[in-house]
């Protein structure tokens, strides 16, 4: 609470935006599936940080509730997503995201 008092919400939103941008950049530019996965986590947490900031600024508990939802969904996503990734990496240890195009139309 002390820190929040001294640093304005712009700083938090700024950090959130930077984290999100890093996540987007990583997702679009990297090919390693694990790294891309981590980037998604980064974006989710950037959103969480923005939620918390607005919840505090607007004095609305709704933002914090949303964060819990995001955390739960992210956990579920990690369970499923990592399971799929591990399965893929077992069969093709050196696969990149661009190699996985069996759903091509």
């Amino acid at each position: 609470m002390m820190l929040l008092a001294t640093v304005g919400p712009e700083a938090y939103l700024g950090v959130s935006a930077i984290l999100f941008a890093i996540g987007v950049g990583g997702l679009l530019l990297r090919r390693n599936p694990i790294v891309m996965f981590m980037c998604i986590e980064l974006m989710l947490n950037a959103a969480n940080l923005a939620f918390i900031t607005f919840a505090h600024e607007l004095d609305d508990i709704g933002g914090q509730v949303s964060v819990f939802f995001v955390l739960v969904v992210a956990a579920a996503e990690v369970v499923v997503g990592l399971g799929i990734l591990v399965a893929i990496m077992r069969r093709r240890p050196d696969a990149t995201a661009d190699d996985l195009d069996v759903l091509k139309g």
């Binding site: 679009l28 995201a97 195009d101 759903l103 091509k104």
Partner: protein, 687 residues
């Protein structure tokens, strides 16, 4: 003998619950259909002649029911003479419903009376005429079905019920024209009649669609009660399309050509359907909807009258050159129907109905007489091979002469009075129409005299043999057994070859055929009393029909001097026609070749109208259809269908390339979309 016991109890209860006899109306069509069902079930077992008598009983019962209905209607006060009987809801869909019901009013009762009477007489005649035909009982099945349909048509309480009967008589017509279908020409004639009538039926259907749009109902009473708020243009359209239906059914120009071909049917069929009753259905329909005609634009009535007048004249000219005994009468029927249509178009509904009734008698008589002659002459139908048959056919000849005088319009026979009424009313509409009608009367007298002289007087030509070579050749074309080795039917008029001039012993018809002739002859003589022009008191039919035709000729006043002057002129013209016919065929010519000089080729071929239609339909129309069926169908219709498929196939092939399968492409798409949304939101927020 055809009445089911349960039906009888129903009648009794109906009669007990209401005081009037008009409730018997449902029996009028019910008895012929009962005979129909009975004959279908066991007609062959009943055999000859009992199957015929079953049909006669059904028909006579219908006549009795008509009389009862008539008496019932007479018990009602003069201006309230209309009664509707609804048997059951035929079609019910939400707010729309059509009852299977009957409308009893002076018009429908008049029709029922004469239709059932003439039909009964012709049914009796048929027992004699169809003797020996292998399909004897089937003939009466069809006849009963026809009678049922005709009576539904006449008594129907709505356009749709009338249409039911209308199509029923069309189907019966097809059955009966092609009754001897072993001969290809007969089957084709049936098809021609049916298909030509479809053109008219299309008009009837369109008229019903318009009626439903404008009135929301098909019921006659409801329609007539709501005529005034409807635009006269709409009413005109309805009437014109109904008139198209009437043109088809009543064989008017330009759809008349099926009727002469319909003579391929057995002669009683020609008499009953294609002269006395069925073909008058078109005229009846127009009279039925006379409040609509009154509410339509003036050009509608004028058009109807002109079509009728032209048809009358056209057919009369063609009739003077026909050689087939029945073809003359067929064209004569077309001509007389033209008179009736002209009367309706002139607004003279009573005169039209009057002529319909008298014509039914004398034309049925002419046809039945012709049938008796054909039967007695071993199926010969070409009048040029008759001659001087008077002493062989005393009864047929005498009754035929009565009918001849009636149709020629010689007083006091019935045709004179009804034709006089029509021509008087036509004069009231326009002297030009009268002139057409008067000229037709002259031609009518001429061609009927020609027919009478060719059959009964002149020189005996039926003993003059044809060259034998022709006979031998003709024999080969007409085997007496069919493809399966079964003998072909040999009834009178059955499809077997006629040897012109072959030795024949002319024989007068049996009593079962001549008694109907005498009955009809009495009717043809005296029926003029229905509507005599001697003053208001004698116009029985006009007063009787007044509740049905409010706006008819009873409101007109034609000076007696004019009326009688016109009558005299027409009689003089008719006498000139008779004298001309007598002079040409009795005095001037004796041999076949001489007579042919007075029968122009162009008239024999009905002004080449029929051939023209055939050439047109078989030539340009057929080629155009061929082009449509092959080129147009292939390129445009199939092209459009196949093109749609190709478009989808090619388009989908292009579109699927978007789906790369690379997850980073999709991610880029998502990001770009989100970025665009963000820009949009920011852009909106900045205002």
């Amino acid at each position: 003998m055809t009445i089911d016991p349960t039906l009888m109890t129903t009648v009794v209860t109906a009669a007990q619950s209401t005081p009037t006899l008009v409730h018997a109306v449902w029996l009028i069509p019910a008895l012929p259909i009962a005979a129909f069902v009975l004959l279908i079930a066991c007609g062959r077992r009943l055999g000859e002649p009992f199957a015929g008598w079953v049909a006669v009983a059904g028909m006579a019962g219908a006549f009795v029911a008509s009389v009862l209905t008539w008496i019932g209607l007479r018990q009602m006060p003069g201006d309230e003479r209309a009664f509707e009987q609804n048997l059951f809801t035929w079609i019910g869909a939400g707010t729309f419903h059509v009852d299977l019901g009957f409308l009893v009013d002076p018009l429908s009762v008049t029709m029922s009376l004469f239709v059932t009477f003439v039909a009964t007489v012709i049914f009796i005649y048929s027992i004699g005429y169809m003797k020996g035909d292998p399909d004897f009982s089937k003939f009466f099945v069809y006849l009963s079905f026809f009678a049922f349909s005709m009576l539904i048509l006449v008594n129907g309480s709505s356009l749709l019920v009338t249409f039911l009967g209308w199509e029923g008589v069309g189907a019966a017509s097809w059955f009966l024209i092609g009754f001897w279908f072993q001969d290809d020409a007969n089957a084709s004639a049936g098809k021609k009649a049916f298909i030509t009538n479809r053109v008219g039926d299309w008009g009837f259907l369109v008229a019903m669609f318009f009626t439903f749009l404008a009135f929301g109902t098909f019921n006659y009473t409801e329609i007539f009660a709501h005529v005034s708020p409807v635009a006269s243009t709409t009413v005109s359209a309805i009437v014109i399309f109904l008139f198209l239906g009437a043109i088809g059914k009543s064989a008017q120009l330009p759809l008349y050509m099926w009727l002469p071909d319909a003579m391929a049917g057995p002669t009683p069929v020609s008499a009953l359907m294609h002269a006395a009753t069925m073909v008058t259905a078109g005229v009846y329909l127009l009279v039925r909807v006379n409040p609509l005609i009154a509410a339509s634009d003036p050009w509608v009535g004028t058009t109807i009258a002109i079509v009728g007048g032209l048809t009358a004249l056209f057919a009369a000219t063609v009739a003077i050159a026909q050689r087939d005994i029945k073809k003359v009468l067929a064209y004569s029927t077309v001509s007389q129907l033209g008179y009736m249509v002209m009367a309706v178009g002139s607004g003279a509904y009573v005169a039209g109905i009057f002529h319909m009734v008298t014509h039914a008698f004398f034309k049925a008589l002419l046809f039945l007489g012709a049938g008796a002659v054909i039967r007695g002459m071993n199926s010969e139908q070409d009048m040029t091979w008759y001659g001087k048959l008077w002493k062989f056919f005393p009864i047929t000849g005498a009754t035929f002469i009565v009918a001849w005088l009636a149709i020629a319009g010689i007083p006091p026979f019935s045709g004179f009075w009804s034709k006089g009424d029509i021509l008087g009313m036509a004069w009231h509409k326009s002297p030009v129409l009268w002139a057409i009608g008067a000229l037709t009367a002259l031609l009518t007298a001429y061609y009927m005299t020609r027919e009478v002289v060719l059959i009964f007087f002149g020189r005996r030509r039926w003993t003059e043999l044809e060259p034998t070579a022709v006979d031998a050749e003709a024999h080969d074309e007409h085997p007496t057994v069919d493809a399966n080795g079964n003998p072909l039917p040999t009834g009178p008029g059955a499809p077997h070859h006629v040897e012109h001039g072959a030795p024949v012993q002319p024989t007068e018809a049996p009593a079962v055929m001549t008694i109907p002739l005498v009955v009809l002859a009495v009717g043809a003589t005296v029926l003029g009393i229905l509507n005599l022009p001697f003053g208001d008191r004698f116009k029985v039919l006009e007063h009787w029909l007044e509740p049905s035709v409010h706006l008819g000729e009873s409101t007109w006043h034609i000076p007696a001097a004019t009326q009688w002057g016109l009558e005299i002129v027409v009689v003089v013209l008719s006498l000139i026609g008779i004298a001309g016919g007598y002079y040409v065929y009795q005095r001037l010519t004796t041999t076949r070749d001489e007579q042919l000089r007075y029968e122009p080729e162009i008239l024999l071929n009905s002004w080449y109208y029929d051939l023209g239609i055939s050439a047109f339909m078989g030539g340009p129309v057929r080629r155009a259809s061929q082009w449509l069926a092959t080129t147009f169908e292939w390129l445009v219709i199939d092209g459009a269908v196949a093109g749609t498929g190709r478009l989808l196939s090619v388009g989908a092939d292009r579109a699927r390339r978007v789906q790369t399968g690379h997850v980073r492409n999709y991610a880029f798409g998502l990001t770009a979309g989100a970025a665009l949304l963000l820009i949009f939101v920011l852009y909106r927020a900045s205002f």
